[in-house]
Symmetry: C2
Subunit: 360 residues, 2 copies
């Protein structure tokens, strides 16, 4: 029986421009079925949490422009469970609003906050960790984050350094380090003290609101005055007026790196933030020449270590490519070396400047 | 005023598999607008001849499966001008049938027979040569072919060696040579005696029927018996019964190489048979890095000497490719080195074997 005090907030407002052209402004990564499994990343995230959290306690916070996509992809939740941000303001305002909203419904709520677009391969271990984490934060005034045992010196992730054990895989957090250089990342891995920051958080609703009001007063000065309207018919009017005035700040930077009651729950969940094509390549099944084909059909000759992603039902024939990304979606085809994928932002900009909104 | 005795037969039944995936079994090359000009190759061919041949004297011979495409693309011609072959039998049966058909309408007809999928850049010179050629064949019992002044030792074309001049750019033909090796092609070019065989023919209807009956009796034994039904309501019944029994043989091999009354009209018409992606590349406008973009939008970085052809309104972003072909049409994308294009036949076979008819 799912604990009625446990809540989930799925953050689904990202743009995912690093996966262009697969991911588009009008259809970001979380709304895509990357692996052709039949469920989008958002749907997989919902399905996963719904195994341990009551359906009516799962909230999606997203940008207002994605309202219809959310309703289409998650027809089983009510409109009340979709919190539509009138402006894009990073994760701290998102989390603060969701917390005030949930406190109005249940002041004892324990909340897991999760991105909508990550991959979890080991679901059972993951859900066990979430349930244990929610129990932990129900009993202690702590901010808990999920740390992932690293398997390579990845420079695209944030790292968490652990301090003393609080028992049962929970550790006090010593430091956060954003995307380190490769040499530093190698030192981190060798030390055994550093874990990847998953961007997934757990806390009691009182604890997170207390942390926001202490550490981000410039944010809560905008949202706290609505305490009597959260959960009422007047909530959206208040949000539409005040949310756009919130500062643009992340939970990691604004709260987790500054608070002194931060703990981490450690595990190995087959996790990826699917942040880049290369991370997708690393995770995916390869043919004998190291080529990855996502969704489409492919015939590949004299080619190694490529990743190709085209719409289902399409055929791509490739000869003579090595370490390339070939991705197509809608009206855009991208062909570039895998190690040039940081240039995607430039391609998108050039496409917008030279050709307009139609291709981004 | 166009000469009422002049006729044109456009051969439009080819499959064009060398341009896969741009050219498809259901939509071969002649039905495509390769350069995004607004007119397909077939339409361009029709438009060109219609400047010197009366509209009602232009016939299209094609496979029955392309009947609707022809009607769509050439709405100004009547159904009577479309000769639908019930089976694919190469060019000699096509030419023989068209000749019997036209003789029934006008026994004095002079005919130019042309492929539907070639490119002519110098239209005025071309049409002058055709008009002069038709005058020539009206007065002499000769088979005339159009020879193109070669500009490179192309190994993909047939060559015509000229003998004595018959005046005014007409020469008696000495030999035909099919696709020579590169060394031989170089010798041909240096000699100044060899011209490319365009596959475009002119003759009086009596001359070509005489040649067919003498040189290809195994063909005319099937088609000559219909002499009383050509041009009547019973023609198609006769053709549907007898055409499939005709031998599969080309005009070049079956007639031109064997006849002793073959002449060639020489010229330089900016001609290409558009036989391969490389020939298309050579003909097309290039950016400063030698890249050709056909129809679509492109953003090309650190790349040289590629040809990309995607549907209009699509954007292709390319980085780090050299000497590649990138072609997409419908549900197929092909990426291969330009010098591997002879392998396209293999790709098509593999696609058919492994994935079925849907991709060919």
């Amino acid at each position: 029986m799912a604990n009625k005090d446990n809540y989930c907030v799925i953050m689904g407002g990202g743009i995912g421009s690093r996966f262009w052209p697969f991911s588009r402004k009008t259809l970001p990564k979380q709304f895509l079925d990357f692996f052709g499994t039949g469920r989008t990343l958002l749907q997989q995230t919902f399905d996963r949490f719904n195994k341990i959290i009551p359906t009516e306690n799962i909230f999606i916070v997203t940008n207002a422009i994605y309202a219809n996509l959310i309703k289409e992809q998650l027809p089983n939740i009510s409109e009340k469970q979709i919190l539509l941000e009138p402006a894009r303001r990073n994760t701290a305002p998102c989390v603060a609003w969701a917390s005030y909203h949930i406190r109005a419904l249940n002041p004892k709520a324990n909340i897991v906050v999760a991105p909508s677009d990550h991959l979890i391969l080991k679901e059972e271990e993951f859900l066990n960790a979430i349930e244990k984490g929610l129990d932990f934060v129900a009993q202690s005034e702590i901010l808990l984050t999920l740390g992932i045992k690293p398997n390579r010196p990845e420079t695209g992730y944030g790292y968490i350094q652990i301090a003393d054990s609080a028992g049962d895989n929970f550790y006090k957090v010593k430091t956060f380090t954003e995307k380190p250089e490769l040499e530093l990342a190698k030192v981190f891995i060798e030390s055994g003290e550093f874990y990847w920051n998953s961007g997934l958080f757990m806390w009691n609703v009182s604890t997170i609101i207390q942390a926001c009001e202490t550490l981000l007063p410039e944010l809560t000065v905008k949202l706290a005055p609505g305490k009597d309207v959260y959960g009422t018919d007047r909530e959206m009017e208040f949000i539409n007026e005040n949310f756009p005035a919130c500062p643009n700040v992340s939970v990691d930077f604004g709260i987790m790196e500054k608070a002194d009651n931060v703990y981490v729950s450690l595990g190995d969940f087959g996790w990826s933030d699917l942040g880049t094509w290369s991370s997708l390549y690393d995770l995916s099944e390869k043919d004998t020449n190291g080529n990855v084909t996502l969704k489409c059909h492919s015939l590949i000759y004299n080619s190694q270590n490529n990743i190709v992603a085209l719409p289902k039902d399409k055929l791509v024939v490739i000869e003579g490519l090595e370490n390339f990304l070939v991705a197509e979606s809608e009206n855009v085809l991208l062909i570039c070396p895998k190690d040039k994928e940081h240039a995607i932002r430039k391609y998108v900009n050039d496409a917008q400047m030279q050709l307009g909104e139609n291709f981004i």
